[in-house]
Amino acid sequence: MSLYATRRSANSIATTLCWVAAIFGLAWLFVILVALLYEGVRGLSPAVFTEMTPPPGSAGGLLNAIAGSLVMTVIGVAIGTPLGMLAGTYMAEYGRNSKLTIVVRFINDILLSAPSIVVGLFVYTILVHPMGHFSAISGAVALALLVVPVVVRTTEDMLLLVPGSMREAASALGAPRAHVVGKVAYRAAKAGLVTGVLLAVARVSGETAPLLFTALNNQFWSTDLAAPMASLPVVIFQFALSPYKDWQQLAWTGALLITIAVLALSITARTLSAGRRKSK
């Protein structure tokens, strides 16, 4: 009887600890979101979206930073997506079991979680240093390098989910391989491919480290790709560490904007791929 009692108490202790762990873990994440919402909403005003980043000690907005983030993210995704999709297509459609695919898959998975600051250093040495100055385009290239692994991974995964019988049916009608891939496999996996791009956008839109020494920062409005450009994460970094209350408030508001954008992107991506996931 005592054996049963011991086992039962061991079980209740362990399950209680799991409950505690779950509540503890979720509570911290909840606390962060509440703090972010509370501090960020206080600073929300139309000025945030219409005025430039202010000099120290005065009020202003985040317009140039928001625009800079959008510009660099769009260029980064525009460079990274085709590359990632083609590579993912090779891995799923052409060289499914080839040595190259196995190696690329392994390396890609590592690049997926490699420290992004190292990517910043890499782009600094290949672009910023030879050009002699910081520029928005090198920031966009750094972001593109972070987009590639995400897109490669989702493209491969999503194409592998397309049933082989669809490809065989197309091939049996005499369609060449490029058509089978482009008109059958891509279409069948469309929602999944879009998901990958959305996830990539979500990933890079909050990235700070690779922009610190590629795009740098810019206090003013700039659309010149060869010049330094402001971005939301870098502005948050600079403003949060400053002693000025106005700047700190803008940093919180910027952080809230990024979080909302990232959450919206990830939720959209999940909704798009929800049906697919179920069928898997």
Partner: protein
């Protein structure tokens, strides 16, 4: 028809279009059927597009490898001046003096490892607890929402954790937690050094704690995925002979998924080692090794983020790039082991 052909050709010049017209007509003559000619031309075009597309995808796959190679080569190249100047001493020197251009990586390496260790000590038990909670204990209605919420939180940018750590967590730890730690461990031999005051708020412990909160969703969601690879029949069999929930987890699920869980933990460790922004806000950026976890320190990534744009002189820049190289090598090894282990559990479940 054949007699017209040379004249047309000379009128058009020797362009590609004329050439294809020529071959078309030759083909038409050979087969006496324009349908066949169209078809063979279309087939030729398709074969060309097919080949181009195929080679483009292969090239893209190779480019992914080239990127990794490029990262390594550029970092090695960039760190050469520092390697020449300091040699292996760079790894064990504690000096960091931009004025005399004397640099050593030890404080940064120490800080990187210590913060990651603190993070994993907190995140692994809590993460596994959440995973067990989600697979075994949580009411069915809540499983999906909580699981989804955790996965969404894994995507929140690290700068958010950083700003929260700086403005909310660090002041809280400074006024409430750290004085208590200092008082509680003041008389116990080893711990009195680990928790020696004064309470700065920022420092290794705070940075480690933020990292723990950051990698928690990764560890939790990967462990949950791995736990779900266990065939239900194994768990049912164990429950059927009278095992308690905990015994099923401890003696069936955990042994079955050990490799995958370790892989997930290593993946989290890889993130923690390379994490930049969350740490930079709260580490204090002090290039010294202090026995106390409450003292400010620095990590490799925080050093690079804080100092790179202000680095004057090639040697300073090069020393920072060498730090980046060290970080890349460490995380590469950790992530490679993680991926290898996760691959093994995937093969097992397939």
């Amino acid at each position: 028809m054949l007699s017209i052909e040379p004249g047309r050709r000379s009128a058009n010049g020797a362009g590609g279009e004329a050439d294809s017209d020529m071959s078309e007509i030759v083909l038409q003559q050979a087969s006496q059927s324009s349908v066949t000619a169209d078809r063979s031309r279309a087939l030729g075009r398709m074969a060309l597009v097919d080949g181009i597309f195929r080679e483009a995808t292969r090239a893209a796959a190779v480019i992914v490898l080239v990127i990794l190679g490029g990262v390594i080569i550029s970092l090695v190249h960039g760190s050469l001046p520092a390697v020449r100047a300091f040699g292996f001493g760079f790894l064990v020197s504690q000096s960091w003096n931009p004025v005399t251009e004397n640099f050593g990586a030890l404080p940064a390496i120490y800080g990187t490892i210590m913060t990651s260790v603190i993070a994993m000590l907190i995140a692994v038990p809590v993460g596994l607890g959440i995973a067990i909670f989600l697979t075994e204990l949580c009411p069915y209605v809540l499983r999906r929402p909580i699981g989804t919420a955790i996965e969404l939180l894994a995507g929140i940018p690290s700068i958010i954790y950083g700003i929260w750590g700086l403005f909310v967590l660090a002041p809280f730890l400074q006024t409430h937690v750290q004085p208590a730690l200092i008082a509680a461990f003041g008389d116990i031999p080893v711990f009195s050094t680990l928790f020696a005051g004064p309470p700065y708020g920022i420092g290794l412990l705070t940075a480690g704690f933020i990292l723990a909160i950051m990698v928690l969703p990764f560890v939790a969601s990967i462990s949950r995925d791995v736990f779900e690879t266990v065939p239900p029949v194994l768990k049912e069999a164990a429950s059927g002979i009278g095992c308690t929930t905990w015994e099923v987890m401890r003696y069936v699920v955990m042994p079955y998924t050990r490799v995958g869980v370790i892989g997930g933990v290593m993946l989290g460790l890889g993130r923690a080692l390379g994490e930049t922004m969350a740490v930079t806000f709260v580490i204090g950026n002090a290039h010294k090794i202090s026995g106390s976890l409450l003292a400010p320190g620095t990590t490799i990534s925080a050093t690079i983020a804080n100092e790179f744009t202000e680095a004057v002189g090639d040697l300073y820049t090069s020393a920072l790039i060498e730090l980046g190289l060290i970080l890349f090598v460490i995380t590469f090894i950790v992530l490679a082991i993680a991926r290898y282990m996760l691959m093994r559990i995937e093969q097992k479940s397939a």
